[in-house]
Every structure is written in structure tokens, then in C-alpha cells.
Amino acid sequence: MKPPRKVPQGVYRFPHRHLLGIEGLQPWDITFLLDEAETWVEAGRRARKHDGRLEGLTQINAFFENSTRTLLSFEIAGKRLGADVVNLAAGASSLKKGETLLDTALTLNAMRPDVIVIRHESSGAVALIAEKVDCPVLNAGDGRHEHPTQALLDALTIRRRLGHKNGGRIEGLRVAICGDILHSRVARSNFHLLAALGAEVRAVAPPTLMPAHVERLGVTAFTDMDAGLEGADVVMMLRLQLERMEGAYVPSTREYFRTFGLTRERLKAARDDVLILHPGPMNRGVEIDSAVADDIQRSAITEQVEMGVAVRMACLDILTRDRRMEGMQP
């Protein structure tokens, strides 16, 4: 029998070793992560941002798929907590030559990291690696599957920005997630998170970019943008990858902008105080009009980036707690 985990008195014992996805988390797990992240927002606004609680721990950011923003965010989060952060930024293609993914995982594990952050182009790859390593694993995006820290930072942004009208709760809010749902891990993680917290979630996409049976994830599907935006408290736009435009899934970027682009005109269907989110990087003039993206009253796109660091700090802190407690044993 395993010894009981040592957690300080009065602290919620987060019952998961890894953070591989939002699916499977209980609403109180999510709320706990958000509450913890909240404390890091203030810490991040001070001039001296350093907190040494991950001192001496090694954090590997293994990014098998290209990323700038998420990698940077995880690196900053780790460094602010005092961890020794190492980045392995290799396109999956270069690693695929010869070595299998599991061998790569075993190699990483042999470096004795204390936490590994992984992004991979294949759905399920992060979970596969997590089975093979001895430390907590944080999913920074696997294929089209999940991107849990993105959903958490979105929720934190919503909570902070719309707290005044809903008592700081996500429950009951109408959230429209619009664009390339089919290929989006951000959308999937958000579906699970927002549904778990009781929001009314709408998936808005052209039929070619809408996954099958999306309603079974607890959301309502709309193929008409105007109908989908009706009365929305939050509009979350998704990035349309360039290779999916120009005839593959939609005929052209200009037609897409006409039918699914977020413009001021179109936003009139939503609530006046609607909050606009985008996981970035944006394609201005494709899925979102610049006037909307830069509307400081309603757009929280840059704030999302700030919340990202806070959420990642909270996740790194929480997942390494057991390990740090062990370190304190005589």
C-alpha cells in the first residue's frame, strides 16, 4: 500500500498526478486550480516576481511541435517559481528519425526532471509519455485532443472580467466558441471545462469544420454565426490554419471572413458587454476584424496571455507539491 500523500493541513489535495486534460477533472478540481492561479496574478504584477518554491527542481519543456507563445509562457512560469527550466524545442519530424517517442520519453526521464511539460502533434502522445516517466507531466497541447492550461487561462480571464455581473462564476454564462472546432484542442478543453462549470456552450463553425457528434460533449452546435452569437456573454474565436483555407475546408479567406469573421456589426447580436477571447496567434481580417480585436472595452486577448503565466505557475506549483514535501523529509 502506498503511504498517504503529504499535504499541508487545510490545503486541498489535488488528486491527479499529471495534468493531461480537462476531461476527467471534477468541477472543484478546476475551481481549485483557478483559485490558486488567481494568487499568482498579483504576484506577477510586482516588480520582483521571483518566488523560490521550485528552487532546485528541474522542469523540462519538451515541445515536439513548434510553439513560441506557450513555450515562452511555461518558461517564464517555471523561472518565476525558481525552477531550473530547460527547453527542448524540436519539431517532431527531426526526432522521429530513428528514435521512437517512447525512447525519447525514457531519455528525458533519465535526466531526472521533476516536471515535464509536453506538446506533441499527435492526440494522445502526451498521455503515452506520461505512462513512462516518473514525474508529473503537464500537457501543453496534444494534436486535436486537449490543451488544458489554455482552457484554464480562458476561464480565469472570464472569471476576472465578468466577475462583476455573475458573482465571479462561470455558471450560467453563454459562451460561443467559433471557428475551426474540428482541428482545435483549445475548443475541446474549453468544452469540457465550461460544461463542467455549468456554462451554456455553443460551438459555432461551418459544417466542414464541425466535428461529428459534438453535442455529446455537452455543447450546442451552430453553423450560422449570427444565430450562434445571439445573446453571448463570451465569444471565443479560434485560429483558422492557413492550410485549411483556400478550398480545403472553406473556399477562401474572404468568404470565411464574410460568413464567420467577427466584426462589430456581427457582434451586435451578442450582449453589449460581451467579452472577446482568442487563443492567438490571430489572423486579423480572417477570423477577427482588427477593430474588434483591439477593442479594449471588450477584447481580453492580451489579458489572456497574462493569465496564461499565472495558470501555468499554479499548475507547476500544485503538481510538484508531493515531490517537494518528499524533499523535506530528513
Binding site: G124, R144, R188, A212, H213, V214
Partner: protein
């Protein structure tokens, strides 16, 4: 060669449609006699069957690899080998070699590649391959995309009286897909294709086969629409048969949960409606054959993220036991199951075996349909244990297997 007398067995002859208690005598590599109270020479081996089932050795109508140990463990004495070998079976010499590879313990009946290198463009030398032992012609793991090529293939094969075995998945719809579009593919974020990809291909191939007057065999039917198309064509009198594998009657997309790459199959697992339709198709005979689609894969091929793993499952060693679970479930009676794995493929492809008639080759399977065991991927006989049924309890054990009168098992 020593004669063998099986005493007091349940003799199921799917070719004759009989199921009775009796004795069976094997002499000189053939079935010498069946009946009650048979006498044998003094030196004959006497096997007291005690009411266990004695049936023709199984004929597995689709395998992708010649895996002798797996076949024998599963009570299989003949396999139809798909042309997707390395290199593909598109040349008479390769067909001859493929046929020899199972000897002396397994009959390998090669299916000729429909097109050179299975490229889907140029017809392969079907007549020459037929002369050296190809029992049919197959498109392999993929359908022929070009309808013109398919029509010519069907016409040419009809002239040779060869059955054309087709893979029923529209290659355009399934490009890049690793799962069936549905709840699980959406949840797991896997590239998927609609189940209609099968019906689209079957509908085209049925129509072209009718145009050509060809004999068509759908290698694997896995969807409700696919079953219905085959059923309707058979009702109209078209010369079409179909097979499926146990996975499509026993599993659905839910097996993909946790990204289990052993459940990555081609065609992919479908939803519950399709699974029920496949069972109904087996029950009413629309799907006349149950094949293993044996496709052993190495650890390196399967220990990958789901979408990067190779498709296919090992199936020979579990074919009988999984088939029997359909009998235990009441989907079809035991003699019908045995027909689906012996006499029906024998008749369709003109093979010896599948019969207990006097003079038939002594390819015989004695088994206990109720003996329980648990499928274990780690110890499954054969090249590899990549089965989606790992850990599942089944019943049905091979007690004795004969090929041409020679004992292969135990």
C-alpha cells in the same frame, strides 16, 4: 501412416449441413469413413472425443501475414493470404513462393494483387498467377480509387472466373483518417472519416460488378449501410459475398478510449448501431464468412500515439474463441459459425476442405466449445499479440488439429 479413429464425437459437417454424434476414421491422409461404431485396425490411434466437436479444420478467409503458429493455435488449417506482402503478390513467382511459405503445416491460398504493386492503376498478370495457385484476386488493404480501373479489373477477372476481393473504404473519404467519425473520434481528437465511406465504396463496386458480370467478395463489412447494400444485392440475385472480423461484431468505437492502439483497425471500429447490424448480417447469412484479418504488428508499430500506430490486429489465434462467443450470445448456431469459417470460404474460392465427406482431406479440428480461457496479449501464440481483446475471457479450446492426417496440435 497411422490411422486415427475419433470415437463418440459431435460431428459437425458444415458443407453437408449435418450435426450428429458418431465416429470418424482418418486413414491415408483423408477421411476414410464416418458413422457409428466404426472399427479400426489394431495399430490405429483411438481418440475418445467424449462428445466434443469434430469439424473441418478452419479456413480463414483473410490474413495479411502467414503466421503458422498463430493459425495452428486457432484451429486453422488454411488461410487466404492477402496480396499486401513485401513485395506485393503481383507476379506468378511471388504467388508460388507465398503458397510454399506455410508448408508443411498450413495451407496458404494466395490472393493475387489486382494491380501491379497494388498501385491501383495497371492490371497485374491475373491469369498467370491463377495458373500457379492464386485462388482469387484482391485489391488488398485499400480500394481501387479509379472506377475505370476497377471496371476493367472486374471484367477481366470475370473472364477468368476469379472472385474479386475488394476493400470497402472510399480512399478519398478516408485519406488521413484513423477512426470513424463519431463521439469517440471527437472526444479523442482523432482524424476521422464518416462510416458512409464504406457504403460509398460497396455501392460503387456492386454496380460495377453487375456491369461486368463479375463475382464480388467484400473483404470486410463493418457498417449498417454496408450490410444493407450487400443484403439488397444478394436479394436481387447478384453474385456477391461478404466477410467480417470478430472485432466488428464484438467491439465498437468505445474500445478506442485511452488511445489503445491495439484497437486501431482498418476499417476502423464503428458505433453500436453498426455493431448490431454486423451481428444481424452474420445471423441472417448476409455476411457469410468470419475472417481473422490477422495482421500481427511489432511493439514499435503499435507503441505509438494512436494516429501514428500501424493499423491491424493479430486474429488467427483468437478467431475460433471469439466466433464462439457469438454462438454463446445466440447470434448464430454453431454449425453456421463453422460454415462461416470453413465450408463457405471453401465453396466461394473453390478450395479443398471445409467438409467431413468421405474422401475429403483429413484437415480436422477437435475442440471443446465450452472450455474457458482468458486472452492474453503477452502470451498469444504467433508473431505478435496485438489484439484488442486483451484480458477478455472467452471459451473454446482446440484439443486436436490435423492437416492431411498429420497431427499439428497438441
Amino acid at each position: 501412416m497411422r490411422s486415427i479413429l475419433f470415437r463418440n464425437a459431435r460431428l459437425i459437417d458444415p458443407a453437408a449441413g449435418t450435426d450428429r454424434r458418431g465416429d470418424l476414421l482418418v486413414a491415408e491422409r483423408v477421411i476414410a469413413a464416418t458413422g457409428e461404431g466404426l472399427a479400426a485396425s489394431v495399430d490405429a490411434e483411438i481418440v475418445e472425443a467424449g462428445g466434443k466437436v469434430l469439424a473441418p479444420g478452419l479456413i480463414d478467409s483473410t490474413v495479411f501475414r502467414t503466421d503458422v503458429d498463430a493459425a495452428i493455435a486457432g484451429g486453422i488449417t488454411s488461410v487466404l493470404l492477402m496480396p499486401d506482402q513485401s513485395p506485393p503478390l503481383d507476379d506468378p513467382a511471388l504467388v508460388e513462393r507465398a503458397e510454399r511459405l506455410g508448408k508443411p503445416r498450413l495451407w496458404v491460398r494466395p490472393l493475387a494483387a489486382a494491380t501491379r504493386g497494388l498501385n491501383g492503376c495497371e492490371l497485374a498478370e491475373l491469369s498467370l498467377m491463377q495458373d500457379v495457385g492464386a485462388v482469387g484476386v484482391a485489391t488488398g488493404r485499400a480500394a481501387i480509387a479509379d472506377a475505370q480501373v476497377m471496371l476493367r479489373l472486374l471484367r477481366y477477372a470475370a473472364g477468368l472466373d476469379l472472385v474479386v476481393v475488394t476493400h470497402a473504404e472510399c480512399p478519398f473519404l478516408t485519406a488521413g483518417a484513423v477512426a470513424t467519425a463519431g463521439e469517440y473520434a471527437t472526444r479523442l481528437g482523432l482524424p476521422s472519416a464518416p462510416a458512409a465511406a464504406e457504403a460509398v465504396q460497396i455501392a460503387r463496386d456492386l454496380r460495377l460488378a453487375r456491369e461486368a458480370g463479375a463475382r464480388l467478395h467484400i473483404a470486410c463489412v463493418s457498417t449498417a449501410d454496408g450490410v444493407e447494400l450487400v443484403r439488397a444485392a444478394q436479394a436481387e440475385g447478384q453474385d456477391v459475398t461478404a466477410a467480417t472480423a470478430p472485432a466488428y461484431a464484438l467491439l465498437s468505437e468505445t474500445a478506442l478510449a485511452g488511445y489503445r492502439s491495439f484497437a486501431r483497425l482498418s476499417p476502423p471500429l464503428r458505433d453500436e448501431t453498426d455493431r448490431a447490424a454486423v451481428r444481424a448480417g452474420l445471423a441472417d447469412g448476409t455476411i457469410g464468412m468470419l475472417a481473422s484479418r490477422h495482421d500481427p504488428r511489432t511493439e514499435e508499430d503499435k507503441r505509438q500515439p494512436f494516429a501514428d500506430a500501424a493499423p491491424g490486429a493479430a486474429g488467427c489465434a483468437t478467431l475460433l474463441a471469439l466466433g464462439l462467443s457469438l454462438v454463446h450470445d445466440g447470434v448464430l448456431p454453431l454449425p453456421r459459425l463453422l460454415a462461416a469459417m470453413s465450408s463457405t470460404p471453401a465453396q466461394r474460392f473453390g478450395l479443398p476442405g471445409g467438409s467431413l465427406a468421405t474422401g475429403a482431406p483429413a484437415d480436422l479440428l477437435l475442440f471443446d466449445p465450452d472450455a474457458p480461457w482468458r486472452i492474453d496479449a503477452g502470451t498469444l501464440p504467433g508473431m505478435s499479440g496485438n489484439t484488442p481483446f486483451d484480458g477478455i475471457p472467452v471459451s473454446g479450446r482446440v484439443l486436436r488439429l490435423l492437416k492431411g492426417g498429420e497431427t499439428l496440435l497438441p
